[in-house]
């Protein structure tokens, strides 16, 4: 497609057949700012996008908004449904309101910032990147998080960090309960400075005292490490 313009583009989701494809084509043609009116909590908005472009949804979005994002900056003015930014590998997503289940599930890179609360399974299977929640998160947040940082400025629900791999969870408020194989540690000054720096970069007051939740690593290995033990069958 021939470059059309770098002027801001306004689309209306009410007109939107194959809206995601249209946005990708616009970015390839040079668009750097796209505003989508009337998202009306539709599912699968902003899926599979790439940068460099800022896509702004003027309202709330449904499931999987920003899913598989590969470099776009996505701004959601209000709230988001399940699976926000799932499997994203690059880019940034900001949500002005709250998010439901599975925010940042299996994300590999990039940054997600949620100004409100998040539901259960936040950052489940996260593989990398940074997920910042200014509010609180529900149960099973950080479930099997492989890598990356889940930063929670509010409280965390039950079973936090269940079956963690090498991911890091930071909680400023209360933790209702830890999941299997999760433990709380005191962060070092360097670690706290790094997290506070990430928050300041997102315009968030960085005076919290965080608890650092990591894997106890008891689930990483079966008890028997003797190689011969695997030959008993």
């Amino acid at each position: 497609m021939t470059a059309i313009s770098t002027e801001p583009v306004v689309l209306d989701a009410d007109d939107g057949h194959r809206l995601n494809r249209r946005m990708r084509d616009l970015v390839d043609a040079g668009a750097r700012e796209i505003t989508v009116l009337n998202p009306r909590s539709r599912h699968n908005l902003g899926v599979g996008q790439h940068g460099p472009c800022t896509i702004r949804f003027a309202g709330s979005v449904g499931y999987y908004c920003g899913g598989l994002n590969n470099g776009a900056e996505i701004v959601i003015e209000r709230s988001a449904g399940w699976g926000l930014g799932e499997a994203m590998s690059a880019g940034r997503i900001e949500v002005g309101g709250t998010c439901a289940l599975g925010t940042g599930a299996s994300m590999r890179g990039g940054t997600i910032v949620v100004r409100g609360n998040c539901g259960p399974r936040t950052a489940a299977n996260m593989k990398g990147g940074t997920l910042i929640v200014e509010g609180s998160v529900g149960y099973l947040a950080g479930f099997m998080t492989h890598r990356g940082d889940l930063i929670v400025c509010g409280d965390a629900g039950e079973a936090l960090g269940d079956s963690l791999w090498a991911g890091n969870i930071w909680v400023a408020g209360k933790i209702a309960g830890l999941g299997a194989d999760a433990k709380v540690t005191e962060p070092s000054d360097e670690e706290s400075a790094r997290i506070h720096g990430l928050l300041r970069g997102e315009g968030i007051d960085a005076t919290f005292d965080f608890k650092h939740v990591v894997a106890e690593q008891k689930l990483w290995y079966f008890n028997a490490r003797d190689p011969e033990a695997w030959l008993r069958i």
């Binding site: 599975g102 489940a124 299977n125």
Partner: protein, 380 residues
């Protein structure tokens, strides 16, 4: 005169195998884990015979008259699938991960199935570059753990398989022991090297069929409606599971019988979960047909398929295509008579080896050890 079994230990409950198993578990402090498939005896494909054409229908001339074997998956929904998966034969390679198998094995299988005009599948460990290069048609398997999943790899795929269950171990996720979590495997799975990887079984961003329907739409949006979406199910509550799968809007269902193999699973699961494929195919066929989805949703079956005869029986029972795994590994050399000393070190012998879980595969297939892998040339 009978001694009531006292001297010969003839208890039907506490057999010598049972006693040995309990002793092992008491020492290990865990359940037994092994590779391969169930050792339990199920109804066999050998119990079925064909009724070849005689009078009511006349037979084709073998190797002379044309027999159409071309198989298309995803061809019933041209508005949703721009590039259906076209196979020259109704057989492709089922999902076996890089991690469970070594690089050379993945490459060899990709090349072999490409030569046969067919497809192979990534398995759960992400898309291996070498495998993508070797396979002309490659299905990307998306498991609950989502190892290596990103947009780029999804768009490189010729089909996407959302794994919901596996016949060898329905109700649980993948299992890859630390001996096989090499530096390369760990990097692809974003795992610490050497951990005993026990994967999750529930996807992180959908919890039921209604959500999965939206998820399938998301995958289509991300890949621009190019390739078919499969759902992989373990054969359990077949009628209802298949009907719900059809309602999610998928293009094909891969139904995996309990005879399906694995590189590692708890043995109690291998022998006690799921139902055999032979008892599942007709039920699945009826379920699809009752929903009016014949021709729109293809039925692919897998699990314990040994040869062309088994494949033909699956097709006769109602499958559109068949996916094979273990038989392809055996064709590569699994359990072949060579390196017998190395089989012995595992406490087994050619023809009886089920030690994929150890990563010490004597023939270099289910291993990440460079020296063992070198025994399998991907070009040979």
């Amino acid at each position: 005169m009978s001694d009531h079994g006292y001297t010969q230990g003839r208890s039907h409950i506490w057999t010598s195998d049972t006693i040995r198993d309990i002793h092992a578990k008491a020492e290990l402090g865990r359940y037994q884990i092994r590779g391969f498939s169930t050792f339990r005896r199920f109804p066999s494909w050998d119990d079925l015979v064909f009724l070849p054409a005689v009078m009511t229908r006349l037979p084709l001339e073998g190797y002379r008259e044309h027999c159409e074997t071309r198989t298309v998956i995803g061809g019933g929904k041209p508005d949703l699938v721009a590039r259906p998966l076209e196979l020259d034969i109704p057989v492709y390679l089922t999902s076996m991960s890089f991690g469970a198998l070594g690089t050379n094995a993945k490459m060899a299988l990709g090349r072999g199935f490409s030569r046969a005009g067919s497809a192979s599948s990534t398995g759960e460990g992400g898309m291996l570059d070498e495998e993508r290069a070797a396979a002309t048609k490659l299905i990307y398997q998306m498991t609950p753990s989502r190892y290596g999943l990103d947009l780029e790899h999804l768009r490189l795929a010729d089909g996407i398989e959302v794994a919901l269950g596996q016949g060898a171990k329905p109700g649980t996720g993948g299992l890859l022991l630390g001996m096989k979590v090499s530096e390369k495997v760990a990097a692809m799975r974003s795992l610490p090297m050497g951990v005993d990887q026990r994967s999750c079984v529930r996807h992180p961003d959908f919890l039921g069929a209604d959500d999965l329907q939206v998820k399938i739409e998301e995958l289509r949006e991300a890949t621009d409606y190019q390739v078919p979406i499969f759902l992989k199910l373990a054969a359990c509550r077949v009628e209802f599971d298949v009907k719900i799968a059809v309602k999610t809007g998928c293009d094909a269902i891969l139904l995996d019988g309990t005879e399906g193999a694995t590189a590692a699973a708890p043995e109690y699961q291998l022998d006690n979960c799921g139902i055999p494929l032979i008892a599942s195919i007709q039920t699945a066929r009826r379920a699809i047909d009752e929903l009016g989805a014949n021709g729109k949703v293809q039925l692919v079956v897998s699990g314990g398929i040994r040869n062309g005869v088994d494949i033909a029986k699956c097709l006769a029972l109602g499958a559109d295509a068949v996916a094979i795994g273990t038989s392809a590994l055996i064709a590569l050399g699994c359990n072949s008579i060579q390196y017998e000393d190395d089989y012995a070190k595992l406490g087994t012998a050619p023809g009886a080896c089920h030690h994929c879980h150890t990563g010490r595969c004597p023939v270099g297939i289910t291993t990440q050890d460079p020296e063992l892998e070198a025994r399998l040339g991907p070009d040979e």
